[in-house]
Amino acid sequence: MNESEIRSRVLGIMKSIAPELEEGELRADRPLRNQIDLDSMDWLNFLVALHEKLRVDIPEVDYGKLVTLDDLVAYLRAKLESRAA
């Protein structure tokens, strides 16, 4: 899966959790939680959806690294590549 595919999958999942999300208005380099109303339950549901759709598990200790959409995409890409290798 290339970077733009990962990005669109992530946005799709995010949209299922926060339907009010306007993709055009989301700044990929700014903290997600400042732009979308995500509480810890939403975040957990988001991770469960990533687990189901991309089969990637994100341990809780890594939550802190995942602040922006760019962070998420880079993190997922590294995970998916290490699995493919």
Partner: protein, 385 residues
């Protein structure tokens, strides 16, 4: 004969609109079974029955709006015979309405139910709906048997449902909160609670779990509140008819924000008796159903206390307004690393500010203080929650 009346689905509800019957005359029902779906100003609620019996007569049609306490249906008690029961009869229902309701009640599959629920729509209304670009099937009718009338169509076209729902919810919150501040002499207490143990314990627990079974701090807080209430029962129950009525059961109303705006606080039942995994499942289920607008009547009508957590929004502490007829509300602010002095040592650890809004008619500050001290103690032993 059992009388099934429209129950109160929250202190802020005065009337409800029957959306759908889930049973038909002759059906056997069990205690706890969902028999009807009723629209309150806040949500469409699955209404449960509290007796075993057999449905005898349905006295309301879908689409009718009636006050709390209105007789909706009669049921035969186990052993009671239909021949001897007296029909109440409903006020002038056109024959066409009855089959539609019966078909809807019989359909078990969601897809089939959607088909069966096809409403009677008058030809004029259907044509007007086409002109206005409104889906006539989605409008709730006010005509006989829930029929969609011309007026309903024009009303639906003029006021889109979501805005309406929001305005109605705002009104309901306004009524309950005004009543609370008018009638309840609140007192407020707060306590900063060290959360180092709870945070570390949760991190270790979640490391062992797949993402689908991870727990949130909110669940530990709910369980600790429930256990602390056992030592201060005067915070758990209702103020009714000039006296406090304590509740043995601990049903915690959990404030959930709705994405489109507004707030709802349905109950998680018997929180003291559930383990953390069960509680997490219950919370996650409740949040998703509250946001999808599908709650059960018992969840709306029987919270014995409310917990609100505004920490996610970054506030330090919350001093809430009690939801009548309850007598207390517990608030949690953000769990964050703060400076903490223990003996002569200063350290940086996660803490949270827990607060209590208490009804001074039912309890005194000293008991409230006892509650917060117990809450703090319980959160120091997360493994025992």
């Amino acid at each position: 004969m059992i009388e099934f009346k429209l129950p109160s689905l929250g202190a802020d509800m005065e009337r409800g609109k029957l959306l759908e019957w889930r049973v038909k005359p002759g059906d056997a029902v069990k205690r706890g079974q969902v028999v009807a779906i009723v629209d309150t100003s806040k949500a469409a609620v699955d209404v449960e029955i509290w007796h075993d019996g057999t449905v005898f007569e349905l006295l309301l049609d879908p689409g009718e709006t009636v006050p709390i306490g209105t007789l909706m249906a009669t049921l035969l008690e186990p052993g009671e015979s239909a021949e001897r029961a007296v029909k109440r009869g409903r006020p002038a229902v056109p024959a066409a309405a009855a089959p539609a309701a019966a078909v809807a009640a019989r359909a078990p599959e969601p897809a089939a139910a959607a088909l069966a629920r096809r409403k009677p729509v008058s030809p004029a209304a259907r044509q007007r709906a086409r002109e206005l670009g409104v889906d006539a099937e989605k409008i709730s009718g006010t005509g006989p048997g829930g029929a969609v009338t011309l007026e309903d169509v024009e009303h639906a076209a003029a006021a889109p449902a979501p805005t309406d729902r929001y305005a109605e919810m705002r009104k309901a919150i306004a009524a309950a909160m005004s009543r609370s501040k008018r009638e309840i002499p609140h007192y407020y207490l707060s306590e900063e609670i060290p959360m180092q143990r709870a945070t570390q314990w949760l991190l270790r627990e979640n490391e062992k779990r797949p993402v689908t079974e991870r727990m949130l701090m909110g669940v530990l807080q709910l369980k600790a509140v429930a256990l602390a209430l056992k030592k201060t029962p005067e915070l758990n129950g209702f103020w009714q008819d000039g006296a406090f009525r304590r509740s043995e059961a601990i049903h915690i109303g959990t404030a959930i924000s709705i994405r489109q705006g507004g707030l709802i606080a349905p109950a998680i039942h018997d929180v003291d008796k559930k383990n953390l995994v069960e509680l997490m499942r219950a919370l996650s289920d409740l949040v998703s159903r509250a946001r999808a607008g599908s709650l059960r009547s018992s969840e709306m009508s029987d919270p014995t206390i409310t917990v609100t957590n505004l920490g996610e929004q970054g506030v330090g502490a919350v001093f809430g307004v009690i939801y009548p007829p309850q007598v207390a509300l517990v608030g949690f602010g953000r769990v964050a690393v703060r400076s903490w002095a223990e003996g002569e040592t200063l350290s940086a650890i996660p803490t949270v500010t827990a607060s209590l809004s208490g009804d001074h008619r039912a309890s005194d500050g000293i008991r409230g203080a006892r509650f917060l001290a117990e809450l703090r103690e319980l959160l120091q032993h997360p493994e025992e929650l």
